[in-house]
Symmetry: C2
Subunit: 457 residues, 2 copies
């Protein structure tokens, strides 16, 4: 575990001392003598961590921190503020400015290294997500509005403490910023943490259970591995703190707990969690988009091809219940809509048709937009009689009520439907679709607005 | 850093000893008394790491290893083989069976923990990728054939050694399985490693440079962070080995190097690297698919919307060079093709049209399938005259040569094209597209196979 660390301090001797310590542990270092240069270097060189002195002339550490956290290119870089001051006010100012951690001089080397390791671990995970998200962004799949909404949202905090009274006190304080719940039973807390929890506040001094082991459990299971943990420790138990950081606790606050500091640290953790969630959601949404038709939000032909192949492969293994039916649907005289009312109207008709189609198939059916004004419904485990029934329902739900356009026009829309059902072992996806397509053709020839079944030969 | 470890051994005392050691370090443990149960548990419980004894009745450790590495649900789980034997043959058998590492009894606790930490780190990274890839798989975006091809491919190996003669000897051996190159200069090696390298074989006993610091550099930079490193160490330098593992070296072989063992360990590393690459590629390809039309491989409407919005936003900031043109193209009488020759023929026409369109626009143009038989070309920085010129070229390239269908039919295809150019500040993407669409309508009305420009008002 190693990283590139940017050291920012106006006193050259301090810089050299930190540099020597970090390089002895094989960290790579960059240095900046003031805030302005630090910001430039952070943008340009993209360090993994920034060690930032608070007391500097011109721009102080708080302001540098604030600016780095505002800039899109640097806000993901963890910042550790280092200062000679040990005042509560200063710690709070640092956290409010967006610092991820806070160490006081003289810096305890072991603690510094433990903190560094923990932050680097998180940073590398986020880097990998960011790399993928940047492809999404180039493709226009990243939604800045969603980002802003998610980052600033209220968090769900779970407090785990064997002392119910203290838990309630914590809850009252954290409740000013977040939705909170507390639990005194570690087993129950593990289950809750697997749900929509943004932060666990854990009393590491609990006597009723082994809190370190609880962290290990949390980190072991995939459902809770990424859950941030803010631990409350006894200030003098340095060994416990180091073990906690090693096991993956994200941050610690010493007892007696300064409530404002706790709230500030909780906010930082939740914000970081939200950023990771946002990156993951963007990826998942992008994957979803690959199989979604943008106009109708139905699945697209790519999705259909895949699932039709799977269904026919099952069918060809020969189980009687693995019969497959498909409907092919083609909106009648769609060209006329486009030519008479324009493309926007055409899009409205497609969308409304897709809506009615979705409402009138069953949960197991897969309605897809095949292209243009053509749709296919894949119906696994469905025989001809059931498929016909549903086709007829869709047809009538389209024909019976005119489509209302945004400009007030009412359009009579009808659809021609072909139904085909698998013929037993040896049948192919292509042949099944072709038969449904022939059904559509026949429906059009014989006057449209009807369902034609291509009988299983 | 913690994990769930499955301990497999037929001797209960061994199991209890390992269990106690691991739990003292906050690992979670599962145990299996024989190979059959171990395989079942690995599938069912999905541990993070498997510690596997070699000498067991019925199925021995090698066979268990082989089966676990063949099974799709377990092949990503790292396996450490543990045995009383110290024979070279046994080590090779274990590696050939697919083991990720190999420890001999009595197990050195510190080495065990260092190995565990290194493997857990890799495993968690892969888990995150696998989670995303499983969405791709459900959507049918994962290609098993690509997987098989990538996993079994020959690797690119870079050897870094200050001793050219030894490097050449290593190269000769590894060259039997892979493409190899060696380098004696660490700076040059860093640059090469950023390229298409699947494995770095590093002489950690090099005197001419600090090999541990070289590993730190490699791990620090994003381009090389994930590059596997197999280090050659002096067997008696335990401290160096531990530091190397901590810094992210993936595996070590002691000197004097057993060449067969080196080759086996190299194969394991390359296979694992390929698996990670495959997961990443699948993700990137899936993201690409979200903006690609499946039939024509042109970009889709989602892509168009995003880039048209960007281009018009730039345009509306007022720079004269940020003029934007679009072509809208609609294949004439396409319905007739479908009705006369069937959908497959229709698809062929769409594909061939897309091909000619792509060939006749410029590199900066973005040709997209808008839906059905409609296409849009977005032309940033392009005025009306240039847009018209290209539209005319596309129209004639479509009309002048008939489309040859797979069944031998020759079809005369024509296209109607509308051209619109941005009107200056205040113009909108919607209005621009609408004007191009009006151009298409006018082209159709006045006889098709022509280009109509909607003049900037």
């Amino acid at each position: 575990m190693t990283a590139r660390v940017l050291i920012v301090d106006d006193i050259a001797a301090n810089v050299r001392l930190l540099q020597a310590k970090l390089e002895a542990e094989y960290y790579e270092t960059l240095t900046a003598p003031n805030g302005r240069i630090a910001i430039e270097m952070a943008i340009e060189d993209q360090p993994d961590i920034i060690l930032l002195d608070v007391m500097m002339p011109e721009i102080d550490g708080y302001e540098v921190c604030r600016q780095l956290k505002e800039h899109a290119e640097t806000r993901h870089i963890p910042i550790i503020l280092i200062t000679a001051l040990d005042g509560r006010e200063d710690r709070l100012s640092g956290l409010e400015a967006g610092a991820d951690d806070f160490l006081t001089k003289p810096v305890d080397d072991v603690v510094l290294m433990a903190r560094l390791r923990a932050l680097v671990r998180l940073k590398q995970m986020v880097d990998d997500l960011r790399a993928r998200e940047s492809s999404s962004r180039r493709a226009g799949l990243t939604d800045q509005a969603v980002y802003d909404r998610q980052i600033s949202a209220t968090g769900n905090v779970l407090i785990l403490d064997d002392n119910a009274r203290q838990a309630e006190r914590l809850m009252m304080q954290l409740g000013e910023d977040h939705r909170c719940a507390y639990e005194t039973d570690p087993e129950k807390a593990l289950k809750i943490a697997a749900g929509r929890v943004d932060l666990v506040v854990l009393n590491l001094t609990a006597k009723a259970f082994d809190a370190l082991r609880w962290v290990a459990h949390l980190r072991t299971h995939e459902a809770t591995r990424q859950r941030p943990v803010l631990a409350i420790i006894n200030a003098d138990e340095r060994k416990v703190m180091l073990k906690a950081l090693e096991l993956g606790v994200n941050d610690v606050v010493p007892r007696p707990v300064d409530m404002l500091e706790l709230r500030a640290r909780a906010r930082t953790q939740i914000k970081r969690k939200r950023y990771g969630d946002f990156l993951r959601n963007t990826l998942d949404r992008s994957l979803e988009l690959a199989i979604t038709d943008p106009l109708t939000h139905l699945n697209n032909r790519r999705f259909l091809d895949h699932h039709l192949n799977l269904a026919m492969a099952r069918h060809n293994r020969g189980a009687a219940e693995d019969v497959v039916s498909v409907l092919m649907l083609d909106i009648d005289h769609f060209k006329r809509v486009n030519d008479t009312y324009g493309h926007d109207a055409g899009d409205e008709v497609i969308r409304e048709f897709a809506r009615r189609l979705s409402l009138n198939v069953r949960a197991i059916d897969m309605p897809c937009r095949f292209g243009g004004e053509e749709f296919v419904v894949l119906m696994p485990g469905t025989d001809q009689a059931d498929a016909l029934h549903i086709a007829e329902r869709v047809r009538s739900q389209v024909a019976d009520t005119p489509f209302a356009l945004a400009d007030g026009h009412l359009l009579d829309v009808t659809v021609s439907v072909g139904v085909a059902t698998s013929r037993g072992v040896g049948d192919s996806p292509e042949s099944l679709l072709k038969r449904a397509d022939e059904g559509v053709y026949e429906a059009k020839q014989s006057g449209r607005n009807r369902v034609i079944v291509r009988a299983a030969a």
